[in-house]
């Protein structure tokens, strides 16, 4: 199984590097990969049907409890077959749909990564590896949604999708870690027996809330639904793949998978029920106001996802069965509708449902596929959609409280979804062909065959439900710990209230379809409420965030050296003073200090004056001269306090610096007064605080005892070991000789730099550039 998952990544890598050489030829061959995987998973059908679970474990990071544990049970099987099966058709469809596209190889690489991540997601038993694949689907879908990267709208949609699902992914990681630490294991299958202990834990609600955040963002539940309609900017094969069978179902999958672990609790059920109900009705209502085929499909997809969340929220045996069935039903008809939309878009160059009609005359196979899907979508027998709808009503009717209300909500949603199906699947094909569309090209085989296959499958499964009952539907229930023995899928149940509701849904849907015409003005009407939508709120937040970071950068990273220095110094002074204030007793022992002499006082006075002069003079030359005087004064101090070597060095260096300064800078103009009074006062305050801090620190250190061990060692051994009597010199050239050598090389490097800069002559062209 590991190989089955990794093969997608390997081929994607191969395509990314070698894809250019094929120039899009042979692209149909790439669909052999999902097809092969589809067959690979099909061979496990007998195992699954007889309740054998296929597992495979690979050690990865055992010290963290993170392993690549794969587990193929009923639920994983359903998803794997949808991912690879619909994947095969989408891959084949793409080879014709994007024929000749410059980045076709890249597109396939993204698609393969996405497929492989999706497979990893549904097969992972370890919740951490599940998280990793979850994030990989977010990242690869970013590239798929933003595939038309020259279109700013498309890039924006991709960013929105990544932002929403990415935040969800982080929530998932947090939730998974909490869950793992409560349960003591990251294996989902090992958590199931511990579900009661987990529900009793104080952090249960937090973990569930975080996981809900992940599932709701991924599965586009209200109020995080807005990325999904935006993601319609992607090429149609991407929409088909992401929104019918894979990406958006990942959240549903997660909820389904964790139902036996976290489900059955008040918080779990109520939240899912409310969020699902709001989402399904809100989105279904919005389908009325859209005119773009893909826009309508986007909202009906959100509505379908709402229904699934709602069903998982109900949590009863029947509801979970209905959810399992509906995942399959929805994948089949929604993929068909999307593929059909792509064909229409490619043929007529428009997706506006208000202008499309009569297309059956030019693209008959597409019309057949569309009508089949619309029938399944509306739940008309004998399609599989009828079975799905039946199960939904059965679960709401038999729910133990507010059954009537919940059923009414489900009917209302389904009526609107049915309407959406009629508008997208039927309307473009009936009526009169508008002028200008007579010469629409007949779609090629690879464009019309995939939707037909899916549309027909929807009927085959509907007429012969036993095909999927044992192999797929029953094992789903088993995999969430329910007993499937009572499941009998069939079309005809006799005259029951459920049948009545189905008839009601179908006919009300038709009624809405005939009475309500989607128009541009209705779409504009709903656009006015955009201000209040979660999308708008999130976007304003993002803008605010951007502004805040901009402000931050402008304040702290503004490119002015003096600001950096000021900030550093202010913090340094603040922090050190804080420590000093708390821990210091100010004692200055004057008696330990040496006495003043007149020479020292005079030197000090000269030094203070020269510093003041250097700071305040307006002449550059005078400032340099004053700096020289200051250096000589320090030199005198070295003489007073027994440091003749220092005095000599300081004298030489100071002289050299002044000479260099004068030689180089005497040509420069006078200082300009560059800063205003306020700045200077502020800088003065900072400087005095800093100088004061240094003085206090120096006095504090002087009050401490001094350790002379090292000095004594050098002093005692200078002559005995190194045969020199000037201890400072002996330290420099003998004891620490290597350091001195390195120091000399530093000086040499500086000298080379100086020499280079002096000799550098810019060419006239370079000078002009500046």
């Amino acid at each position: 199984m590991l190989i089955a998952i990794l093969i997608g990544f390997v081929f994607a890598l191969f395509l990314a590097f070698a894809g250019k050489f094929f120039k899009g030829k042979l692209s149909i061959l790439i669909s052999l990969i999902p097809l092969g995987l589809f067959i690979y998973f099909l061979q496990y059908i007998p195992n699954i049907a007889s309740n054998q679970i296929v597992t495979e474990s690979q050690q990865w990071i055992p010290s963290f409890g993170v392993n690549l544990d794969f587990r193929l049970d009923g639920l994983a099987m359903l998803f794997s077959l949808m991912i690879t099966g619909i994947g095969t058709l989408v891959f084949a469809y793409t080879s014709s749909y994007l024929k000749g596209h410059v980045y076709l190889d890249r597109f396939y690489a993204y698609l393969l990564v996405f497929m492989a991540s999706m497979l990893g997601l549904v097969l992972s038993d370890n919740i951490i590896s599940l998280f990793i694949f979850w994030e990989l689907t977010s990242i690869s879908s970013f590239f798929l949604i933003g595939f038309n990267n020259t279109n700013p709208d498309s890039r924006r949609s991709a960013q929105t999708a990544l932002a929403v699902t990415g935040i969800g992914g982080l929530l998932f990681l947090a939730g998974a870690l909490i869950l793992g630490s409560i349960a003591g294991t990251y294996q989902i299958s090992e958590m199931i027996p511990l579900s009661e202990m987990i529900a009793g834990n104080a952090h249960y609600v937090l973990a569930v809330a975080l996981i809900f955040g992940a599932a709701f963002t991924k599965s586009a539940q209200f109020p995080f639904h807005f990325w999904l309609p935006g993601a319609m900017k992607a090429p149609t094969p991407v929409s088909t793949y992401l929104h019918s069978a894979t990406m958006v179902k990942a959240g549903i999958y997660l909820l389904f998978r964790l139902t036996p672990v976290l489900g059955g609790q008040e918080f779990w059920n109520t939240t899912l029920l409310i969020v699902g109900a709001v989402t399904m009705f809100y989105a279904a209502f919005h389908t009325l106001f859209r005119t773009d085929l893909k826009g309508i499909l986007a909202y009906s997809t959100i509505a379908a996802l709402g229904i699934l969340t709602f069903l998982i929220g109900l949590g009863t045996h029947e509801a979970l069965l209905a959810a399992g069935m509906f995942i399959l039903v929805h994948a089949l008809y929604k993929a068909t509708l999307f593929l059909m939309t792509g064909a229409i878009d490619q043929g007529t160059k428009t997706r506006d449902v208000t202008v499309l009609s009569g297309l059956r005359k030019v693209m008959l196979p597409i019309a057949i596929a569309g009508i089949l899907a619309a029938i399944s979508n509306a739940g008309i027998p004998p399609s599989v959609g009828f079975l799905g709808k039946d199960l939904i009503y059965e679960s709401t009717l038999n729910f133990n409280h507010s059954a009537i209300f919940l059923t009414g909500l489900a009917v209302a949603t389904n009526v609107l979804i049915a309407y959406a199906g009629y508008v997208t699947g039927v309307k473009p094909f009936i009526g009169k062909l508008p002028t200008g569309m007579e010469h629409v090209d007949y779609p090629p085989l690879l464009i019309w065959l995939p939707p037909i296959i899916l549309g027909v499958l929807g009927f085959v499964f509907g007429m012969f439900p036993s095909l999927v009952q044992e192999s797929l539907i029953k094992p789903i229930l088993t995999s969430v710990g329910r007993d499937p023995s009572q499941v009998h899928l069939k079309i005809w149940h006799g005259f029951t209230p459920i049948l009545g509701l189905s008839v009601l849904t179908i006919s009300l849907g038709l009624l809405v379809y005939f009475l309500w015409k989607p128009t541009k003005s209705k779409e504009d009407f709903i656009e006015r409420f955009e201000k209040f939508s979660p999308k708008h709120i999130l976007e304003s937040l993002a803008v605010l965030f951007e502004k805040a970071s901009d402000l931050w950068t402008r304040i702290f990273q503004n490119g002015y050296l003096r600001n950096y220095i000021s900030v550093i110094i202010v913090f340094l002074v603040g922090l050190v003073s804080l420590t000093l204030l708390e821990n210091t007793t100010y004692r200055i022992d004057y008696s330990s200090f040496s006495r003043l002499t007149i020479y020292e006082v005079v030197t000090l006075a000269i030094m203070i004056m020269s510093i003041g002069f250097a700071v305040f003079t307006k002449s550059r030359l005078a400032a340099v001269a004053a700096t020289g005087v200051m250096g000589y004064s320090i030199c005198l101090f070295f003489v007073f306090y027994s440091a003749p070597d220092l005095a000599m060095t300081q004298f030489t260096i100071d002289t050299l610096t002044v000479i260099l300064f004068v030689l180089v800078l005497y040509k420069l103009p006078k200082y300009l007064k560059l800063s205003d009074y306020k700045t200077r006062v502020k800088d003065t305050v900072i400087s005095i605080a800093f100088g004061g801090l240094i003085t206090i620190l120096a006095l504090e250190v002087l009050a401490q005892p001094v350790n002379e061990e090292i000095s004594n060692y050098y002093a005692e051994n200078a002559y005995i070991l190194a045969h020199g009597k000037n201890v400072v010199n002996v330290i420099l050239v003998d004891f620490r000789g290597t350091d001195t050598m390195v120091e000399i090389s530093v000086l040499a490097i500086a000298a080379i730099g100086v020499f280079g800069l002096l000799k550098l002559r810019l060419k006239s062209s370079e000078r002009k550039q500046k």
Binding site: G559, L561, R562, I565, S592, F593, L596, E600, I608, G612, R620, A623, T627, M630, I634, F637, F638, Y641, S642, A643, P644, L646, T649, Q650, I653, T657, L660, V664, L665, L668, Y671, L672, D683, T684, I686, S687, F690, G691, G692, I694, T695, A698, L702, S711, Y714, A715, Y719, I720, K725, N726, V727, V728, D739, E743, L747, I749, A750, A751, G753, L760
Partner: protein, 117 residues
């Protein structure tokens, strides 16, 4: 005397910092020199100052017979003086080059690497 020297060090640091906060490049270098001298003085002071007894062993003896100034801070400062000379000379030449090219020593006019687009 130590008390006055401690204050002197503080003055050097304060004046150096003030100069470094100016916009002129030349003042920046002068500030750097002042802080450098302040640091030298600080190390010198913290190593305890001794009057009239340089760390040189007398002709007639192999070891010190009386008190002596601490040689370790002196060795450190000697290194520091030389290294800071390397830094200063390089900075001075750099200022000269920069002035030749952009005709200003105002830091604010140098803080973009490229022409504003």
């Amino acid at each position: 005397m130590e008390f006055l020297l401690a204050i002197m060090t503080g003055v050097l640091y304060a004046a150096g910092l003030y100069m470094m906060l100016r916009r002129s490049l030349v003042k920046l270098i002068i500030g750097l020199i002042m802080i450098g001298n302040g640091a030298n003085l600080l190390i010198f002071l913290l190593g305890r100052i001794t009057k009239g007894h340089p760390p040189i062993i007398s002709e007639s003896s192999d070891v010190f017979t009386e008190i002596y100034a601490d040689p370790v801070p002196q060795a450190l400062i000697l290194t520091a003086i030389v290294i800071s000379f390397g830094l200063q000379s390089f900075a001075i030449i750099l200022v000269k080059r920069a002035y030749k090219v952009v005709k200003t020593d105002d830091l604010d006019e140098m803080n973009t690497t490229d022409e504003e687009i």
